[in-house]
């Protein structure tokens, strides 16, 4: 089967899958994901590892697009209003998650390194799954807005705590004894800072270019070309430079929105153009995973999955209460943030080279948990949004609009 045919098949099957799950009030993304599972190695083996790897470019584009649109949240005026509050709330949610997961896994008999690493990985929230559910529900309200705000900060925060945790474990938990501590520490700190500051700087530079260039282009089609091209350049170049594509694309979006206010409509345009990419993204995510990973998830994996939800709920509850957020946010924010996906797997894979001794057990837990979360997470998010009363039943874009 040619790859083109496969892409077509993926899109059409994803559409069907998305429609089918709607009958049981489950978000489309779960349907896409099921299609991926079905096409992947677990069942039909149509999407082999090679094909999935070849189509990975779609996933990267999709991720870049969604992070770019999240970046729009960092508008200065918007930040002035909610920035401080959001920052603290994110801190609450993250610490709640880390502490709960860490303690749970310690209680389940894991060593502290594994528990800590899983705790920081647990802070990851799949922006793409969460946002797609919000979009599908066409939700609006304080909870929805808070979710958008938190997602943006959480992304940066997650990478930061992951970096700090690995640094700590190497420092205390006996990393490579061969490397002198100061050299090792210097190297580690550099990579940590480079991943954050370098990504931000890179996103800013490209954002400036995009803003200056975009001002000279009037035609809608050309603007789209420019933005897509820039996003791809950023995603591709970050791999090459060892930067975080998530932070860089987000910064690019943030830079653009602050330099050119009217670009908001651009974000809207993108939001209407990209669904096929997200469909492919979730199908591939499904094809990545194997049902058999559920068999080896073990007690720790179940504990991790449950503790992560509880930790987010607790953190969100106390944070929202302390920061005087509306009641709906206090009650449902944690549950909205359950989706957990690709970036978590990426971090787990990264551990293979950093801590090969822990990587296996962590990978098993994360892979199993992500599989559960890809299905359950969006459903929980949908329920939470529904309970908070922010769901608007009419569809965001009808055929007539197109």
């Amino acid at each position: 089967m040619t790859n083109v045919l496969l892409v077509g098949l993926i899109l059409i099957l994803a559409l069907i899958g998305g429609h089918l799950v709607k009958f049981v009030r489950v978000p489309e993304v779960v349907g896409y994901f099921f299609i991926g599972l079905f096409l992947g190695p677990s069942f039909s083996e149509i999407l082999t590892h090679e094909v999935v790897a070849a189509m990975e470019v779609f996933s990267e584009i999709a991720l870049g697009l969604i992070l770019f649109s999240i970046g729009a949240i960092f508008e200065f005026e918007h930040l002035k209003q909610v920035g401080k509050q959001t920052f603290y709330l994110t801190l609450y949610v993250m610490s709640g998650t880390i502490v709960t997961v860490f303690l749970t896994l310690l209680l389940l008999g894991n060593n502290w390194q594994v528990a800590l690493l899983l705790g920081v990985i647990a802070t990851e929230i799949s922006p793409i799954a969460t946002i797609l559910v919000l979009r599908e529900l066409n939700s609006e309200g304080p909870l929805t807005e808070t979710v958008y705000n938190i997602l943006a900060l959480n992304n940066v925060g997650c990478l930061l705590v992951f970096g700090v945790a690995t640094f700590l474990i190497r420092l205390i938990g006996g990393g490579e004894a061969a490397t002198p501590l100061f050299i090792f520490a210097g190297k580690e700190i550099f990579f940590l800072l480079w991943g954050l500051i370098g990504s931000i700087a890179f996103g800013m530079v490209i954002g400036y270019v995009l803003a200056l260039w975009g001002k000279r282009i009037e035609e809608h089609g050309e603007v789209l070309i420019l933005v897509l091209g820039m996003i791809l350049v950023v995603v591709g170049a970050t791999h090459w430079l060892g930067l975080s594509p998530l932070i860089a694309t987000m910064t690019m979006g943030a830079t653009l929105i602050n330099l050119a206010k009217e670009s908001q409509h651009l974000f809207d345009v993108l939001g209407k153009t990209d669904p096929p990419l997200y469909a492919i993204f979730f199908v591939l995510a499904g094809a990545h995973l194997q049902l058999s990973s559920l068999l080896v998830i073990g007690l720790s994996g179940i504990g991790y999955t449950v503790a992560r939800v509880i930790g987010k709920a607790i953190g969100a509850y106390f944070g929202a209460k302390r920061l005087a957020y509306p009641d709906t946010v206090r009650s449902y924010l944690g549950l909205t943030l359950v989706p957990h996906a690709g970036v978590a797997i990426g971090l787990a894979l990264q551990l293979r080279s950093i801590f090969p001794q822990y990587a296996e057990v962590i990978s098993a837990i994360i892979l199993g948990s992500v599989l559960i979360n890809e299905v359950v997470g969006p459903v929980i998010t949908r329920i939470a949004i529904g309970r908070a009363g922010e769901m608007r039943e009419e569809h965001p874009a009808s055929f007539e609009a197109i």
């Binding site: 200065f76 190297k187 550099f190 990579f191 480079w194 500051i197 370098g198 931000i200 700087a201 890179f202 800013m204 530079v205 400036y208 975009g214 001002k215 282009i217 009037e218 603007v223 430079l241 060892g242 602050n258 330099l259 050119a260 206010k261 009217e262 670009s263 651009l266």
Partner: protein, 478 residues
């Protein structure tokens, strides 16, 4: 997109932008310097991978070669004990170099080896526990007693039992046959086919084992049905007389160098052992009498041209021998001896040697188309001795053509005085005692004139080099 009033001045943006670019450039620089030290770049990784693959491939091939080497080593090890070095006793001095200088071609300072062109040591195969050693006939012409060097470095003496020159084989017997190394087993299975891998073994006079691996190229038969096995394997001088074994280390045959073919061949073991038996048999039936002739078999062409159907052709008649007295001549063909038909040369040898001395032997011979009868009185064998045959000389065979360069040496007999002196075939004798020579007859004439006991100075030309050699006394016969 339409431009909008910026929130801040352009300077503000410029500073931010420059700062971001600076951070990027610095970061990339630092990162590269760290990574270069700690990680492979993709290109070097690929190169390392390719090198590794290449190493893996070569190591595989090397393993194959080593496996072959192991097989050869294991096989030769099995037979090694029975492979001995055979050298003639009473060897001459080792080769000595002679350097000639000149002032017109300084780059061409020349050095010649004045080696004695002594038969180099050949190899032999210990046949059984009685101490019989099969070797090449080439060595047998040089001596009656030989030094045998075994694999473990022990040296023993062996005597010549006999030679079969047409078969190129000779049989020796050790004087002591205690504590001999085991004799390798003989290949008993199916006959060796062309294409089979075989190993030639030999031992150098220094005691080192020589091994040559090759496959059996062809098996050819000569006119009398003897089989010669041609191997695609190196044939160094010391392999002559050694055994050929198969990959299992079993004896297959004997290596001999055939001067007529200019090639080393293998004589199959069964045939070689049969030849050894005849040599032994001939030796056991000690001759009682002699008449003083040399003879040979008649070839097919010879029979036709001489219009005889069978017989033995006399090639030489010893001086003062009974044969000479009876009027026998070279070119006579003996067709009957004592009324018994002589079909082959071998039959004549039995007819002469196995009758008592002082017997009147009646020979029927064909001479120049006529049939004659001759009576020869056999003499006791004890009285016969080699000096009566005109074979002793300086050891030179000279070209009969005259040449302005001098007299060309065609061949040098091994172990002869000429060989000891260092003469080689292909050398030119340019002058003796300052008198230029052009032909062999001039040389012989000069030798008759020169005082026999006086030293002589020979000017020899070898290739582009000329040098003098000193003879202690004159040459009586070539």
């Amino acid at each position: 997109m339409k431009s909008s009033p910026p929130i801040h001045s352009w300077k503000y943006h410029a500073v931010i932008l420059m700062g971001a670019i600076l951070v990027l450039v610095a970061g990339v620089f630092i990162r590269n310097s760290i990574i270069k030290k700690t990680e492979y770049s993709e290109a070097t990784l690929l190169q390392a991978l390719q090198t590794e693959v290449l190493q893996l491939k070569t190591s595989l091939k090397k393993n194959d070669l080593e496996a072959i080497a192991d097989i050869v080593a294991a096989a030769s090890q099995k037979a090694a004990g029975a492979v001995v070095s055979v050298t003639a006793m009473g060897s001459a001095a080792p080769p000595r170099p002679i350097t000639t200088f000149n002032d017109y071609r300084p780059d061409k300072r020349q050095q010649a080896e004045l080696g004695n062109s002594l038969m180099p040591g050949v190899s032999g195969l210990l046949l059984d526990a009685t101490g019989e050693i099969l070797t090449t006939s080439a060595i047998a012409a040089t001596a009656k007693e030989f030094q045998i060097l075994f694999a473990d470095g022990t040296k023993r003496t062996a005597q010549l039992i006999g030679v079969n020159t047409p078969e190129h084989l000779a049989l020796l017997r050790l004087q002591q046959n205690e504590n001999l190394p085991p004799v390798p087993e003989r290949s008993a299975g199916k006959p060796t086919e062309t294409g089979a891998w075989l190993i030639r073994l030999g031992r150098t006079p220094a005691g080192r084992q020589s091994v040559a691996l090759g496959w059996l190229e062809a098996i050819r038969r000569d006119a009398v049905g003897r089989e010669a096995y041609f191997l695609d394997a190196e044939f160094t001088p010391e392999l002559d007389g050694g055994p050929t074994i198969n990959l299992d280390g079993q004896l297959v045959g004997i290596n001999v160098f055939r001067r007529d073919l200019g090639k080393g061949i293998m004589i199959p073991l069964e045939h070689a052992i049969m030849v050894a038996q005849t040599i032994k048999g001939d030796a056991q039936t000690a001759p009682q009498s002699w008449i003083g002739i040399e003879w040979q078999d008649l070839g097919e062409a010879m029979k036709e041209s001489l219009s005889v159907s069978q017989g033995a052709l006399i090639t030489q008649v010893a001086a003062n021998s009974p044969a000479q007295k009876a009027g026998l001549r070279a070119m006579d063909i003996i067709v009957q001896a004592a009324g018994k038909e002589i079909r082959t040369a071998r039959e004549l040898s039995a007819a002469i040697q196995q009758i008592p001395a002082s017997t009147k032997l009646r020979l029927t011979l064909r001479r120049a188309g006529t049939t004659q009868e001759v009576e020869v009185e056999t003499a006791s064998f004890e009285g016969a001795s080699a000096p009566q045959l005109p074979t002793v000389g300086f050891g030179l065979e000279l070209a009969q053509t005259s040449s302005p360069q001098g007299v060309e040496i065609r061949a040098v007999r091994p172990l002869s005085a000429a060989a000891q002196l260092g003469l080689q075939s292909g050398d030119f004798i340019q002058a003796i005692n300052g008198t230029a020579l052009r032909s062999a007859s001039e040389l012989q004439q000069q030798q008759r004139v020169l005082p026999p006991q006086a030293p002589q100075l020979w000017l020899i030309r070898r290739g582009e080099q000329s040098f003098y050699l000193t003879l202690k006394e004159g040459v009586k016969a070539l």
